[in-house]
Amino acid sequence: MSEAQDVNIEKKKNDSRILKTDSIIGNFFSEVYSITSFTMRFLKEVIKPPYEFNEIMKQSFLIGYKSLPLIAITGFIIGLVLTIQSRPTLAKFGAESWLPAMVAVSLIREIGPVITALIFAGKVGSGIGAELASMKVTEQIDAMQVSDTNPFKYLVVTRVLSATLMLPILVIFADAVGLFGSFVGVNIKGNVSAYFYFSQVFQSLAFADLFPAIAKTFFFGFAIGLIGSYKGYNSTKGTEGVGKASNSAVVFASLMVFIIDMIAVQITSLLQ
């Protein structure tokens, strides 16, 4: 092979790399633009009547009530495991009596909201993504449109609102069950009364712990509902797209939970 041919092949490889990079950057910005337009459309549709109250109630039941068993089990295990894992370290420093306070603060401030949001993203975000994508593939969304129904309002707005409203309630529930799990954990190797344990818990908590922790869960819920809906509503490629929409909804929503959490923590620490 001549030197000129080698140079040509190398040039083609470089060109293809540049094209690939261009297409990745292009896709990224096009996705950002697309999701921004989707969010703007949501904000426009959410204030415009008619309001789909019945569907919001139905979705809140499906998204919230049906998630309770999973959230309860997860919350209980987190509380229990956190207590059992922290105990030896605190015991080393003779600070075992701090266990309820430490578990309560970490559970309420951070672990409860983030873990519940991640579980919620896995169950609800992927569910919304898959449901809307399959509705798109089977032309149900088109059928809704020709039935004089605004499918965006009926399917997307209701699901995003329900996810935004239900996640904070689920987080409060998970926190409560988590504290109960922690109480069980404390009593595995000791004998602490419920009154004493929970007085320690409530003494250690302040409004500044509760409010930002609950406030950020509204944003978690909004992001999970919106991303699930966006991925499902805009899915392509037939049945293959259903799996992709569901999968990418979980991945993207989970990532957003961490990003929102990081921003919320920064804002809270600046305000304190």
Partner: protein, 258 residues
Amino acid sequence: MTDSEKKIKSSIDNNPEEIVVEMQHLKKSFGDNDVLKDINLFIKKGENLVILGQSGTGKSVLIKCIVGLIEIDNGKLIIFGKDISELKQKELIKIYRRIGFLFQSGALYDSMSVRENLEFPLRRQKDSMKKEELDNLIQEALHEVGLDEAIDKTPSELSGGMRKRLGLARTLILRPEIMLYDEPTTGLDPITSKEISNLIIAVQEKYHTSSIIITHDIECARLTANRIIVLKDGVCAAEGSFEELEKSTDPWIRSFFE
């Protein structure tokens, strides 16, 4: 002016009030792919128009343009004598309410029962309707398509033919003046296909609907068509009755009927 345009012009000039849908130089592209290049056609009141063509020639795109699911790029689309590009959203909604669409897959709402599938469009368009009136309409619609027994079933419990019939009942319950059928017999056995074709004729006779039927099924075309248009390369390549096209001198058109 081409032959097809002359035909359209003379038909419209003779019976302007009878034309319910008219397309003039309609164009639609997806990226570089020009699906509909220059479509000129019309549908008369009470007429069944069958559109034939190979896969990917834009037959479904054409009827989706009529109902507003796909926006046209160029040309004129006139429905009930009104150019839709000049209409406001509210007027457009009024027009679309008079059009029914039977999707290829039936497009039934999986999360709803048969009853809820029929109730949904009724509630959206006639929210003041009383429960008794609603139930009567649902039962009547199911009876018309022979699905009286299936009222409490879910779509997943229905066969392909039943799903198509339910899709038809859901569309008919709103009493549309124009019916658009997207491959109504695809994936069905010959007996069920014939049942669906007979239902299409029954709908035309009972409700005097104008219909566009997209199909590959020649038997369905033979049974239902008052007139047939053959699409090729994004234009209307031939037009006529079943018998006329069957005897066409163009071997490509004749190949559809062999």
